[in-house]
């Protein structure tokens, strides 16, 4: 399979003077037409099924004009619930963890531990950990379950469907 043989073939094809795009489109059309013809001949759909409730919702969610607002609204609600809802457990967690910090400090004092040890373990390690947990844990514990629910309800695939065109334009898919 030498270069020369290949270029012989390519020049032969170029000589046929073809518009590849057009040929490709025609091929796809021929395939689709055949598929349609065969499918129609062998399907007897006794009655045209009414769009179910779920399907109506589906067309709404993926429609051109309503798809995006619905999607943004949905994600907006999720974020709002996450951010606002997380405040309460966050505050409670912080209160609880810093209450423990106070008691730990008392313990260090009672044991007459050196100040640098107390500074490192309690004011350093423990306090950082307590902050991170009280700030991060509640939003995660709220956001991820909701997100999982959205995914299982099939709403995320519909978001992906809406965004597909944009990612294609951005070259995310070649």
């Amino acid at each position: 399979m030498s270069r020369q043989q290949q270029s012989t073939i390519f020049s032969k094809i170029d000589n046929l003077d073809i518009n590849h795009e057009q040929i490709r489109d025609e091929m796809v059309k021929d395939i689709y037409d055949t598929a349609e013809e065969i499918a129609e001949r062998n399907i007897a759909s006794s009655e045209v099924e009414k769009e179910s409730w779920g399907e109506k919702f589906d067309t709404l969610l993926t429609s051109k004009c309503l798809g995006f607002p619905m999607m943004l609204l949905m994600l907006g609600i999720v974020f709002w619930v996450t951010i606002v809802g997380a405040n309460y457990p966050s505050a409670m967690l912080a209160k609880f963890l810093f209450w423990i910090e106070g008691h730990l400090s008392n313990l260090f004092v009672a044991l007459q531990a050196p100040e640098w040890l107390h500074g490192m373990l309690i004011k350093g390690v423990y306090r950082t950990l307590a902050w991170v947990i009280s700030v991060m844990l509640p939003p995660m514990a709220i956001f991820f379950p909701i997100f999982t629910l959205l995914e299982d309800l099939g709403l995320l695939p519909r978001v992906a469907f809406n965004l597909d065109n944009f990612f294609k334009k951005a070259g995310g898919q070649w």
Partner: protein, 262 residues
């Protein structure tokens, strides 16, 4: 055993797709649109005997598994879900190259019975590449629920492929599928499935290119379908030769292996 991995050339090619050529199992490829129950069929066939990894050099998941039917072990490969084989995405390219070069003993096209038309598009493209094709009409329960009645005999006559209706989620019809696969592998049925007939404009051009390909590459027809190659060249695919060269390289290597053994 009729069709089992005829030559070690095919085996080496299969190894390049991460399919164990040394096992000498007949290979069953599962093709289909996304969400037609491909993975469900795959799991139903193979049970726990499966591995997942990546397709060589690609970030696309490859699932392969094994099942035994009438004391013959089969290797099953779950191809990426695609709507066509036009190689316009990595998934499509993988599916196409696998059917074309690894030449599975049987390619099962898994179709959504509630959406026959869209699924037939893929089947029609698969039969351009391989004769050994089975149509697995899955989601038959959904079709029934939606009152869609499919004339299975008529469809089989139109397509000239065996059709197996299944409800993969309930493991219904899978033993029929195994039986049909066994019959094809053992050459108890000969298949000559439907081939798309394109517009005369395209067919004329194919007829001009095919003899040229046969002249330039007389050995190629042993490995791949020349008409299919001509069609790809017509639609402007210039990388197809590179893929072919890879395939040829493997075959050359194979020759060396054989020589050394003698």
């Amino acid at each position: 055993m009729g069709l089992t991995a005829q030559s070690s050339g095919v085996n080496l090619l299969r190894e390049s797709f991460n399919i164990d050529g040394d096992k000498n199992n007949p290979v069953v490829a599962l093709a289909g649109n996304p969400n037609t129950g491909k993975s469900t069929v795959f799991n139903g066939l193979t049970g726990l005997k499966q591995h997942t990894g990546n397709w060589p050099g690609k970030t696309v998941t490859q699932a392969k598994g094994y099942y035994t039917y009438l004391s013959q072990e089969y290797t099953v490969v779950d191809l990426p879900g695609t709507y066509s084989l036009l190689a316009s995405s990595i998934e499509e390219q993988i599916a196409r190259d696998f059917i074309c070069f690894a030449q599975p003993e049987v390619t099962v096209v898994i179709a959504d019975a509630t959406n026959l038309e869209r699924n037939l598009n893929l089947l029609l493209q698969v039969t351009e590449l391989s004769e050994r094709v089975v149509l697995c009409l899955n989601l038959m329960d959904e079709a029934e629920r939606k009152n869609i009645k499919i004339d299975l005999n008529g469809l089989a006559t139109d397509l000239q492929v065996p059709i197996v209706p299944t409800i993969a989620r309930d493991e219904k019809g899978l033993s029929d599928l195994k039986k049909v696969i066994d019959k094809i592998v053992n050459q108890e049925v000969q298949l000559d499935p439907i081939k798309i007939k394109y517009s005369s404009k395209i067919e004329e051009k194919v007829e001009k290119i095919v003899p040229e390909l046969n002249k330039q590459f007389p050995n190629l027809r042993k490995n791949i379908n020349i008409r299919w190659l001509a069609l790809r060249l017509l639609e402007g695919d210039r990388t197809i030769f590179e893929t072919l060269e890879e395939c040829y390289d493997v075959n050359l290597k194979n020759k060396k292996v054989v020589e050394r053994r003698q």
